[in-house]
Symmetry: C2
Subunit: 377 residues, 2 copies
């Protein structure tokens, strides 16, 4: 069966591009002695893809407990739940430990550290804790220079049921960078903040073995990861237009696309209408800094080759509106009603999350297999 | 069980608000003699909600064939598939007819009209066709003044297997209106375009019984629907911040919310972090014209009452960042880590699409039941 025979909209995954993205991630991490890959599976959410990735990784990160449960059921035991833990989620984490997971949780708050220490010690469910460090003002984490860093570390160090495994940080602000040197500088900031926090904890006489950092742009472009033990990436396995816009990859490295059918011509307005709206492409308009296209995706032909500067300029629930970014006249005869296009995603995680499965194809467009995704919380 | 005991993020549906929204839609349509409600089920995607709505409706509209199959299985037979039909979808529509659906499809293209006429006549699967009219340059449809309108009507009129049921239009541009008088003017434009197209078809000696129009803002605010036979609304059953921004409803009319847990405090940046990111809230930033809040949702307390001017200012996959729109100091003690907030959605269709089910609650917060949603295509 060929891609062109599928019912649309449908999510396609190019196996050749996936394999080459994976090879690139492996090589990028292998270039840094002493650093292991921790694959963030929030992007792929599929055990079949995870199995390929984890052959070269030290462990996995997940963004929901549902993912942790799904991947554990698939045999992935080394799991980092990379979103701040709260007491309402302790019982589920405890159940994961009881079911055989080697669980790591993250936190950045004194009261939560205290609750974690008490609950997991009382429950006799051993877990590892990474303290989250704020390296860029992006989201979560404690200041690496704060007194809180040491006081939280001390609470965790004293608890018998938990192991202060180390520190982690995420340079989410790398997505806002404008140039490659900016990303390289952000990677150094991410590294040095995490290493600094670990050193302060060790200087206080507390063990802090692991230093975990990562975002796709920073890990792929970092010049040095000295002092880092673990690098996390997620989007890098698929790539997307945000990564193209950042200069981290090229459009032909994007492994994911949405196959859509042309359902209308608006000749007066020079627009094509397709049957992929925001339910299929996601409402993610990409980053403000995105240099490629300010819309909901870039249009490729049925073989995945980008077509001029066509993009999805607007979406409704089940309609996508395609036009030329620069106003070039559309060749309607190239896109008859009923013909197919492929739309490259702004944000691979968000577009993939719109679908229950991947249709995996070779570079010749032949459908090789289907892989399910997990969803929900 | 109470709302506060649920695992987060979770989608809540306030049954009292749903009932009052439904009553408002019924009254708005009943005010126009000769007009029947056609409920667009793309927003609710639940048979339990559809059953309540359809007690007062002439039929249903759907945005995917998956919805059509799901609602037909639930006993809803009068179905309008409201997205331009293409040949790749004929067989599924034919199967719906064979399974007992009274199916209507829409089209706006001569070649497709010809294909529909041939295929359904040959397959002996009787369907109804509404020709889509472009009333606002928003998306699909033929110009009501064009010669194409008549030539397409003639092709459909001559085919024995299809019934030209009438015309339909959708004033999608009503979402961009800035004032109530603008919406009222848009409603009149939607009405008059559809009525004019129907009159031209009738003047050409072709039967054109139905005139179907609709968007939530225009139907709720239209002064007259003279000549219209059918009014379509979808969002009106739930309401959302876009509707509040348009002045179509108040925040307390929004029946949908996402319950989230506070997972972090960033005191220096005056931000709360919650466990609802774009996977739960959708990436829909609302409309540019939205007057309420330029973010990903407005924050209410665990009882659903809006809290000051707090909103979700940024989202990552599983993190939402909450801050005051005007920079008012946050009362962190009101939102301890582990406490709950409810987030009102920018766009009800998109937020609901992020979840597999509704947790339905009464005005006292008691969970009454759970209703599943259909998804995919």
């Amino acid at each position: 069966m060929n891609v062109s025979m599928l019912s649309t909209p449908v999510l396609l995954l190019d196996e050749t591009r996936l394999a080459s993205n994976l090879a690139r991630v492996r090589a990028a991490v292998a270039a840094h002695a002493g650093v292991q890959l921790r694959a963030h599976l929030k992007t792929v959410k599929s055990i079949e893809i995870a199995e390929r990735i984890l052959r070269a990784a030290g462990g996995a990160a997940v963004s929901t407990l549902r993912e942790a449960e799904y991947f554990l059921a698939g045999g992935v035991t080394n799991l980092l739940y990379a979103v701040s833990i709260t007491p309402d989620k302790f019982a589920r984490v405890g159940d994961l430990v009881a079911a055989g997971a080697n669980m790591t949780v993250v936190l950045d708050d004194m009261e939560i550290a205290d609750s974690v220490a008490r609950w997991f010690t009382a429950a006799r469910k051993h877990i590892h804790v990474l303290m989250e460090i704020d390296c860029d003002g992006h989201r979560c984490g404690v200041d690496p220079e704060s007194s809180e860093l040491i006081s939280i570390a001390r609470v965790l160090d004293r608890a018998s049921g938990v192991d202060l495994a180390g520190v982690m940080t995420h340079a989410g602000a790398s997505y806002e960078c404008k140039t490659i040197p900016d990303i390289i500088a952000m990677a150094e900031r991410e590294r040095s903040c995490a290493v600094r926090a670990a050193r302060r904890i060790r200087d206080a006489g507390i063990a802090c073995a692991n230093v975990s950092i990562g975002s796709t742009p920073t890990i792929l472009l970092a010049r040095t990861l000295d002092g880092v033990t673990e690098a996390r990436v997620g989007v890098a396995f698929f790539n997307d237009l945000t990564m193209v816009g950042l200069g981290v990859c090229a459009a032909q490295d994007i492994a994911l696309s949405v196959l859509a059918t042309v359902i209308g011509h608006q000749v007066n307005r020079q627009q094509l209408i397709v049957d992929a709206g925001w339910t299929a492409l996601s409402s993610d308009r990409g980053h403000a800094s995105q240099r490629v296209f300010e819309g909901y995706g870039v249009v490729a032909d049925s073989q995945g080759r980008v077509v001029g500067d066509l993009g999805v300029v607007a979406t409704n629930q089940e309609h996508g509106i395609i036009a030329s970014a620069s106003g070039v006249a559309l060749e309607f005869e190239r896109f008859p009603i009923g013909s197919r296009v492929r739309i490259l995603p702004n944000h691979a995680c968000a577009t993939a999350a719109a679908f229950a499965e991947y249709h995996v194809h070779g570079s010749d467009g032949r459908i090789l297999t289907r892989w399910q995704r997990c969803s929900g919380w």
